[in-house]
Subunit: 382 residues, 2 copies
Amino acid sequence: MKREILLTPGPVNIPNELWRYAASMHHRTDEFRAIVQDAIGSLQRLLATNAHVYLLTSSGTGAMEAAAANFVSDDELVLVVSSGKFGDRWGEILSAQGKHFELMRLPADERIDVDSVAAEIDSGKYGSAMLTHVESSTGTLFPLQELKSKVSNDEVLFIVDSIASIGVEELEMDSLGLDVVVGCSQKALASPAGVSFIAASGRALKKASGGKKRAYYFDLTRYTDEFKVGDTPFTPAVQTFCLMHHNLKALERIGWDNTRERHRAIASEFVRIAEGMGFEELSRNPSSAVQALRLPRRLEGKGFAAAVREGTGYVVADGQGALKGKIMRTGYLGLVGGEAVLDFVEKLARLMATLGYDTEPAIGNEARERFSFYKPLLSRLA
Amino acid sequence: MKREILLTPGPVNIPNELWRYAASMHHRTDEFRAIVQDAIGSLQRLLATNAHVYLLTSSGTGAMEAAAANFVSDDELVLVVSSGKFGDRWGEILSAQGKHFELMRLPADERIDVDSVAAEIDSGKYGSAMLTHVESSTGTLFPLQELKSKVSNDEVLFIVDSIASIGVEELEMDSLGLDVVVGCSQKALASPAGVSFIAASGRALKKASGGKKRAYYFDLTRYTDEFKVGDTPFTPAVQTFCLMHHNLKALERIGWDNTRERHRAIASEFVRIAEGMGFEELSRNPSSAVQALRLPRRLEGKGFAAAVREGTGYVVADGQGALKGKIMRTGYLGLVGGEAVLDFVEKLARLMATLGYDTEPAIGNEARERFSFYKPLLSRLA
């Protein structure tokens, strides 16, 4: 198999030397219980929260479904604030569960009108608001802190998808007053895909206890008692749990502030260079977790993401839905260091020239030096 | 960390050298789609079926929930046939989904009365029957073939949990006339935990298309169109998918008949020796997938499974619920060869002597030779 490097917004590269931390242990042992409890402690520190944290064996969408099943009741109206495919997914999940919502769609290429969102939440119509911290289909960062400062209705439960943002964008759950936050293993936690988590405030848990759930695997009450002692109700993805636990501890040693700063620096440097090459950032509220870049118009609709993969050996993501063929999405989560980004940029320029779009990436010596400072994160985890 | 060997009925040991097959690839690529389609082909051959196979990122319980959500309607009555904790789980899942069932509980320590089960299914009350091929809490193998030969009502949908039996006990889905079979990665498929699957007959799929599901992540209609081209609707546990795919291909090369024969031989030899040491097989319909052995009465209730782990370095499972402290459960899925089983038996005897139960395992030269024939399966996968 050809060795390719993922520059996508997840899943991330897991180098072979990291797998030795994916221990095969039995889950009904004190050793595994300690790992579960310790991983939960790391996630609580990362989210600056005392919330109850549940680890699930599923993709992030499973955690979203569990959040909707456990914390949204049949008789309330939910405001779904969406700037793309993953925001819309909150609505699809609520629909599937027969729950009621209104969708507030924010255009990806305009600045988010936080006042309008705050006013809608304050209208008194809604029991919960579901938001997406980083919408990875468009690279949009939702300004949660600004929104929270403008909302006065404190009865509304805030349920936030942090799948793409966790570990990259700051998210202090308790001081922000968020009730439910969901995330998963295979993005900035630099771990294999297949484990997700939910952090739920005391207020959310109190609301949940009265609800009809119609779920079994995702019924969090099954997890509550078990998790007090680090047990899971069903066989967990033990090996992925163990590796994610190892990475959480290593990332804490590196420091989340340092990790976030690293993502910000690589992303902003890359975007600056890419803009010099004719790309344009799609979102007016960009995040450093994922870069959604409009292609130079001449390259639209020509299978550019596939050409990049074929021509450079780096895997980037195409747009989804209406954005298919119009954007390229990248992410620098995990394996990637500055040298690889420089190498990618140079190969990208050569590829674009062969496609008839001649460009010269403007990489100054200063940028080169800044990039070379950033070693692959995962080499520091092994 | 102390290196222990799992002799439990899952999860299984994954040696470090196997992890290199857990490729980090992007899931929206033709390479990954080919892996999904090829794994589905292997599972169809293993189950001797043309059924539609879905791969999910969840534990086996998630696949059970998906089966109940997609193939049981709100207005039918289901017969749940249970000989223990995992059979009962079918009922718990149906309850959570607000569906209707009757539980037929079979005592673990009596021979299964197949005629009674057949008569109940033939009563005309039920739209579906949910069964457990191997009940791993008691080591019981349900004689599906015998049951099917006695049932005359062919309107009843057969939904079977094959989580513990897949790859160990024969299960030819189409010739048996089963409609839905669920299984998962971390037992005899010798793979990390976290991936499950559902095989569904055309008849089951036809029934599903009319049903209310109230599920999103486990709504199989979301998987149908995607799976035609090898796509998954949500980010799958890519690395576990890739390793499981590798193992499926390797096990096919070894041959499922050979793998089953190996499990049968090791299990029956081990049980014979254990019976000579004072253990007694709990089930009257035992399976070679898991051995549930009653402890000699003097060792009951003394934390025997924990003592085995501490004293021998091999991890076995305790009983669950009312059987806690009364039985020891073992499995030989994956890493374990005959030499390890012999070593375990000898250490077990020494441990029992220190606990005041002196016993001499009767291992003849002939048994030694037969055991030594069986090398660890996983070494043949790497």
